[in-house]
Symmetry: C2
Subunit: 342 residues, 2 copies
């Protein structure tokens, strides 16, 4: 059975929501879940839920890394932090995957330092699945690598393609580069070089897209550096609240609008759910020699359940095996994208 | 009287909306407006409007630069294009300002090649005034300079501060750097260096902000490179349409929601207006030795009227004189931000 370590102490609503989500996942999927963290606190939460026998275990870890601690320093000093222990288990192959909603930087640091990269992968990248007007769009990287080389971005495209085929069940997903114009000559030198590599690859590359194409679903996979990706991710996160607040201000000054808002309430809830990428499951850290799913810090139980589902599916689909095989076709050190046709 | 050249042929709805907006501005403000473009086409449009005598003139220009032409090549080859002629007039000081809704790259190229930079300014930057939950936030740069040095970003902060004080009437506007975390150690080397320069300056620097702070109005001025700025601008532009489309899909499947939407229609129109930065007037290209206002390609008459208003106010407030004086305090070549206290 697939074994998934869940950082029970990571996230704004840990351990309550983490344990609740893990229990839902244990009942819904055929995975073994290891909750890592302070045993007493986890036990207290577990007593609130009914779980099928033999599906949930506790692995004690006494320390916790806070959301604003310096990632590398914390990982090196806090040997018994829940997230550190999760990655120790992954390194020792005692689990197949890690799910954490804690400090993202700490998760990336622990994954890189303790578990390391897949063979031939130069850099890990965080991918999110953004709901758009035409299904999910995978955006990679949203924060692991803020100063990537063309080869890193090219590898993100390869890894994203495999993930979108395996998890989003897209046959031949379209791949694009986030840029400031559609022409090949646009953007930084890094992007121009990446454009050439993608064009010559066997990926379904459709060229550059712009910020306005994010929500249109025009591209199944959008490649960007971790700086731009992180900025856009945080803009996206704030949109729902901003729209709600702007509408609220207008509505509260108008009776007819209040009535309208009342009628629309269920729709607005639907809209929020439609556009909330955090509920779609966590973000895979692709390129690590083990499955790593990073959940939003504000994850609720449903988000954690879905992140565990994504972790399990990523293992089941052997995404990492596919990445290793696909990248091994590229000669080491070569930037020529000699990826095989499917 | 302040003289403003308006590119009558630039924009998706030129010359109709440009001429209509210019006529509104001529009646509302005490500026002389020179419409630059094909005389016959402009005259045809002018006949539809009543304008106070002696406020609007035509300067003939036979050519037009399209939205997708290569900027520098087009400016160099099309000597008689409306936008080229606008900047010729600005260079010869026959006008105080230029307003164009045409090809942004062409406007930046023409401004830089023909008019040139203000003394001590290293690079021009495009600023937009984004409506937020707490008034306007000035974001600079949104596309003129995609690979800025720390000194460029620092100068954007100086110029943005002067613009926000003059046009947004903010006494001591807060300035921040768009980054991927609040800590000083976050981000690229360019941003870390810029952070130091801003911290040591006399600007009201509040540190780094993240994508989620864009709409909160937490900072009066946000500094970023032109790549990130352009991506975020285009995301922002697409939000209103995306929200409308998502709601529409949900609403059309639910009777009560349809009723609610009907009641809410005026509010939604208000919300759209509240969040539409294009109506707030155009974006100044700061750093050019003359006032340049770039309007959105899709500008309607109101947007053009407001852009002309911004152009006039920028001249009236002597924003360029203030920029020159403020930057002259910095020793040439020095990166030490020895800006005087107000």
């Amino acid at each position: 059975m697939i074994k998934i370590a869940v950082d029970a102490m990571g996230g704004d609503f840990a351990p309550e929501m983490i344990v609740a989500g893990a229990c839902q996942a244990a009942n819904d999927f055929d995975y073994e879940i290891i909750l890592v963290g302070r045993e007493a606190a986890i036990k207290r939460e577990l007593h609130r839920h009914k779980v099928l026998g033999g599906k949930i275990f506790i692995h004690n870890a006494n320390d916790v890394i806070g959301m604003d601690e310096s990632p590398v320093a914390a990982i090196k000093s806090k040997k018994d932090a829940s997230v550190t222990v999760c990655f120790d288990l992954l390194k020792k192959k005692e689990v197949d995957a890690v799910v954490t909603a804690g400090n993202t930087g700490a998760a990336v640091a622990a994954a890189t330092l303790k578990v390391g990269l897949l063979s031939n992968v130069k850099r890990a990248g965080i991918a999110i699945s953004l709901p758009t007007l035409k299904g999910l769009t995978l955006i990679i990287d949203v924060g692991a690598n803020i100063d990537p080389k063309p080869e890193h971005l090219f590898q993100y495209a390869i890894m994203g393609d495999i993930f979108a085929r395996s998890l989003h069940k897209k046959k031949r997903p379209t791949v694009s580069l986030l840029n400031i114009g559609e022409e090949e000559t646009k953007g930084t030198e890094v992007l121009k070089e990446t454009y050439k590599m993608l064009r010559e690859s066997s990926l379904n590359f459709i060229g550059n897209v712009e910020g306005r194409d994010l929500f249109s679903g025009r591209s199944d996979i959008i490649i960007c550096d971790g700086f731009v990706g992180n900025v856009l991710l945080k803009i996206v996160e704030s949109i729902a609240d901003t729209v709600r607040e702007v509408m609220h201000r207008r509505i509260s000054s108008n009776f007819l609008a209040k009535l309208g808002a009342l009628c629309l309430r269920p729709v607005l809830a639907d809209v929020k759910r439609d556009t909330d990428y955090t509920e779609a499951g966590g973000a895979p850290l692709l390129g690590i020699d083990g499955v790593v799913i990073i959940s939003h810090g504000g994850s609720n139980d449903k988000a954690i359940r879905n992140a565990i589902k994504v972790a399990g599916s990523t293992v089941e689909n052997d995404v990492n095996g596919l990445i290793t095989r696909e990248l091994s076709v590229l000669r080491p050190g070569s930037t020529a994208p000699a990826v095989e046709e499917e």
